[in-house]
Amino acid sequence: MNHDRLTELLAGWEEDGLSPTEMDALADCLERDPDARAQAVQHFTFSGDIARALRSMPPETEIENRTEVASRGERPPGNRLLPRSGRLTRRVKGLIAGLTLAFVVLAVWTYWPAATPVPAAVIARLEAVQGDVYQVSGATRTLVQSGEEIRAGQGLETGDDSTAVLAFADGTRLQLGADTVLAELSDGGKQVDLVEGSILAEVTRQASGRPMRMTTPRAELRSQGTKFLVSSGPNATHLELEKGLVTLVRRDDQQAVDVEAGFYAVVASDGVPLRSRPMSPKGRTPRLSLQGRFISLAFSPDGQTLATGTNGQVDLWDPKDGGQRASHRWNAEWVHALAFSPDSATLAMGGKSSRGIRLWKVGTPQFTQMGGGGLIHRLVFSPDGQTLAVSRAQTSFQIWDAVKHQERFTLSGHAGEVVGLAFGPTNKGLISASADGAIKLWDVERGLELATVAVGTGVEKPRKAVRLLTVAFSPDGSTVAAGYYNGTIQLWNLADRSLRASLRQHAGPITSLAFAPDGKLLASGSRDRSVKLWDPATAAEEVSLLGHEDAILDVAFSPDGKTLASLGKDQKVNLWNVADATSR
């Protein structure tokens, strides 16, 4: 729901003027969208403030007199927030009879600035706008298009699938990624404030002593002619240098580091020392890269196959040499979810349409279709392969008999969208996680909820209201890793529901998490374009893997734990050797 429609509904609710359908729509929107909830709080807080302010002020005249005046339409409403000056100007005019025209112009300009506003200076021009991009000025948000000018005092916001390029007169170009917010640009255009999101910057040579300054909540960057990528989230600012040199300053303590081409640095809230590190150290480049518009991937349990999903097709690859082995066509279907059966003989796949789940006998033309009902988000087989759990980006999920191809249960109980599913070591127990931070345990034989573990509201409160985006469960079932919109990863002990650690080195939302089969590594993918490997026992970051040019969509370990596959929005699947990644 867009901002204006939500404003309309909130105002309608405030006036007690919503129909039951509109009330449902408002409830739906608030249930699903944390930004809408924040907007609602802002709306009502402001209304309450207006009411309280009015109550604190003595009325200028009785309201009955004013309504009579207002109904005669004697003054234009609501567009003058400056002192009234008509009488003064007339007096000035009377006094200056016989003076020069220049004096009159000066008096008019001095006393009626609102009547002749000077437009703010043009700072830059928009190019290559894709998706919904907004120019923000005060409380006003306006959709913009390529070719439009951006002036001093205006900011920019991109949507979750939008990009734009800001081109400056001196040739500097800033490419804004998705979910990016730039605060109001200053006159002169020499300072850019990245509130959140990412920018790929090409900064032309600046005048000596006047570097372009970019700030984020955590850091300041000074560059005088360079090409770099900066990503900013509440916890961290992440900088990668392609060309030139940038001085990165941590705002908390003014500690600075010079970052050269081919190096990266992270300013994070967890106090890790600020240093510049090589982006592609030996052994930390992908050993293989597969190109294609992939949106899903899965390793087969026997380790012989890597499957990728794309538009209308699933491809099978040899993970050792990247050779393509087989394909399966599923016309007009983007394959969003993939899961191999435990014996690697069947590949379950799901898409966006109402055609449900397809079970493909790998390597043959045979397949079975079951179910219906829209987007399939996640598929998980039970250890014996008899049961398939299916989530659809809703608050409930389904349990299917994978042999008889029948739905057995729809399990409801989550208040938020289900973002993770995992079977325990037996075929009976299943864990689900939802966007509101709840983890539930289920008996899938009887279709019963056994317990709820509310993680995310325990010992440590996050610094900002967050949405849980993804979870992963450790192979021994003792730990759940939860990834949030603000870039935080939390590790929770399931037995006593205690928070073990918070990991804060990512500068963008966490899109994917995966534990290695032996539980000694945790891989995280983020919209800041990086993949990180962590030691879950010590909560230390082991390695950053930088080889994607867009947000990470998914990560997965091979069954032997020696390879990590990362899927990026840059139409690449990278395979990384990670056998030596742990320090233990």
């Binding site: 709080v41 567009n79 509101d436 900002k464």
Partner: protein, 177 residues
């Protein structure tokens, strides 16, 4: 016996969002003020064991919600009690707002200054809406305009007030609300 001073301090800490929450439910300033005062009395004088601090705001909202439900049921005209989904969603919204470091700062003084600068018709519409609790149709009838015109005016004036407050606070060296 509960520590009254601590309760008072906590209540003051959370008062802005609590008042906003109550207003979001009842949508009428005078009723919101009455219920807010009642919550304050119950919280501070309750004398029960103080809940853990991270639950305090939720506890207050629970008291407020019960008082609001009682208020709705006691209305003489056909009471319209909204679906609990909407009430739950609003509760979640305010729970999230409580967790946010960037808690809203009202800037009431700046807002009052901006209100003083409004034209009379705009100020009149705001007073009828927020002080007298009249809806857009009723205001429109009084001012001989359509309800839709009044709604659009309210949206415009709110935006201008918000911008005015931001500018004033920035000039004063404060962060925006």
């Amino acid at each position: 016996m509960a520590d009254n001073e601590k309760l008072q301090r906590l209540f003051l800490q959370h008062r802005d969002l609590l008042y906003s929450y109550i207003y979001a439910l009842v949508r009428e300033a005078n009723t919101a003020e009455d219920i807010f005062q009642e919550v304050g009395v119950r919280v501070v004088s309750k004398g029960e064991a103080l809940p853990a601090e991270c639950d305090f705001a939720a506890w207050c909202r629970g008291i407020a919600r019960n008082l609001v439900l009682h208020h709705w049921r006691s209305q003489r005209r056909n009471p319209v009690i909204p679906d609990s989904r909407l009430l739950d969603a609003l509760d979640l919204a305010y729970a999230e707002a409580e967790e946010s470091v960037e808690a809203p700062q009202p800037g009431l003084l700046a807002l009052m200054e901006c209100l003083r600068q409004l034209s009379e018709p705009a100020r009149t519409v705001l007073e009828l809406r927020y002080s007298k609790g009249q809806n857009a149709e009723a205001i429109g009838q009084r001012l001989k305009r359509s309800g839709e015109a009044i709604r659009q005016l309210l949206v415009r004036v709110r935006r201008q007030l918000a911008e005015c407050v931001r500018t004033r606070l920035a000039l004063d060296g404060n962060h925006e609300p």
